[in-house]
């Protein structure tokens, strides 16, 4: 430990507080029963798919295309996820299959 107990506790507290501000703000701005602008309804419909696109990129943010394997295991595993899902249409099969494929790829993919 580098910080004292009190300092550590304060850091945990402010990180929790920062996180909760980002989670609670929309609900504090638009509480139940208060009418909100129509644009919010629109955003509520289009933001989930947009954020899912962002989260995929977020998961890949640290792969380097100039590293030894050029991010190949990640790209291949992502494609396997897609193909499995379009083929079998079963969320668990797609995820288990893709994860297993990724674990094999990062161990045995010849560079």
């Amino acid at each position: 430990m580098y910080l004292t107990n009190v300092q550590t506790f304060i850091i945990i507290l402010v990180i929790a507080l920062g996180t909760m501000i980002t989670r609670f703000t929309p609900f504090l701005l638009f509480p139940d029963g208060k009418k909100y602008p129509r644009i919010i309804d629109y955003l509520g419909k289009v933001l989930p798919p947009a954020m899912m696109g962002l989260l995929i990129v977020y998961c890949f943010r640290n792969i380097s295309f100039v590293s030894v394997n050029h991010g190949l295991p990640e790209i291949l595993a992502a494609l396997i996820t897609l193909v499995l899902h379009l083929w079998k249409k079963n969320v668990l099969i797609s995820i288990c299959g893709a994860t297993a494929a990724y674990m094999i790829l990062i161990r045995f993919l010849p560079i």
Binding site: Y2, R23, I95
Partner: protein, 244 residues
């Protein structure tokens, strides 16, 4: 049906949806517990962080904050910036969480990436109480993360099984839910925009600073699209007057 039976039913129906998160959170939670241990922060501290903040990637960033000079203001600001994407989760869930009573506060507290992705994509089965269904997903995901952290900090060092790559379950989850989301026609455009705006922001700003620029870009494009849709809609359809 009594309340207990109703809650039980909701958990049974919600559980299969959380299996990918069970895998990912146990592995990542354990990695977090081990890493904290290595830096000299034992079980009490790592579990306390997971219980109070429950914010995955920010908790990893926080390890750095716990191992440098004490700077709570920087920690607070960094936490808001790293977690800014949650703002959009809240906007998306305003309608779904409406009128759920006190449980709503817990649902908001637990609105992490993974819980959001499930709750915004999966439709509640007809015979299941919506309130308890969301509660089950949120509580299960929360517990997976805490249990993972606990296991990592206690037995992490003794585990010989090579878990490297298991956390791809979460990436695969997002890919699958992305596909599920864009199955409805009007969600293809926002989905594609979300992906490419984020990719462009990543190239421009780098891995540590891209999320907020990406959010701004996504919001700007979606708003412009909304305005142009309305214009073309009202010019095609002179009788329409802001019909829903």
């Amino acid at each position: 049906m009594n309340k207990t039976a109703e809650i039980k039913k909701a958990f049974r129906s919600a559980f299969p949806n959380t299996i990918p998160i069970l895998t990912g959170f146990l592995v990542l939670g354990m990695a977090y517990g081990v890493l904290m241990q290595v830096k000299g922060y034992g079980t009490l501290w790592s579990v306390l962080m997971s219980v109070m903040a429950f914010c995955g990637s920010m908790q990893f960033v926080a390890i750095t904050l716990l191992t440098t000079a004490f700077d709570p203001i920087q920690a607070f600001l960094l936490s808001i910036m790293v977690n800014a994407r949650h703002l959009f989760y809240g906007i998306s869930m305003l309608n779904k969480f409406k009128g759920l009573g006190k449980i709503k506060y817990f649902l908001i507290f637990g609105l992490c990436d993974e819980t959001f992705s499930i709750e915004s994509s999966v439709s509640v089965p007809e015979n299941i109480n919506k309130k308890y269904f969301y509660f089950a997903i949120s509580l299960l995901d929360y517990l997976y993360w805490i249990i993972g952290t606990l296991l990592g900090s206690i037995i992490g060092k003794f585990i010989k099984f090579d878990t490297n790559g298991l956390d791809f379950a979460l990436t695969a989850l997002f890919i699958v839910l992305f596909v599920e989301q864009i199955k409805s026609k009007e969600k293809i455009f926002p989905g594609v925009i979300g992906f490419f705006a984020a990719a462009a922001a990543l190239l421009l700003f780098g891995a540590d600073d891209f999320v907020i620029p990406a959010m701004v870009l996504i919001m700007a494009i979606l708003l412009v699209k909304n305005i142009s849709d309305k214009k073309s809609f009202s010019s095609e359809n002179e009788f329409s007057n802001h019909s829903e």
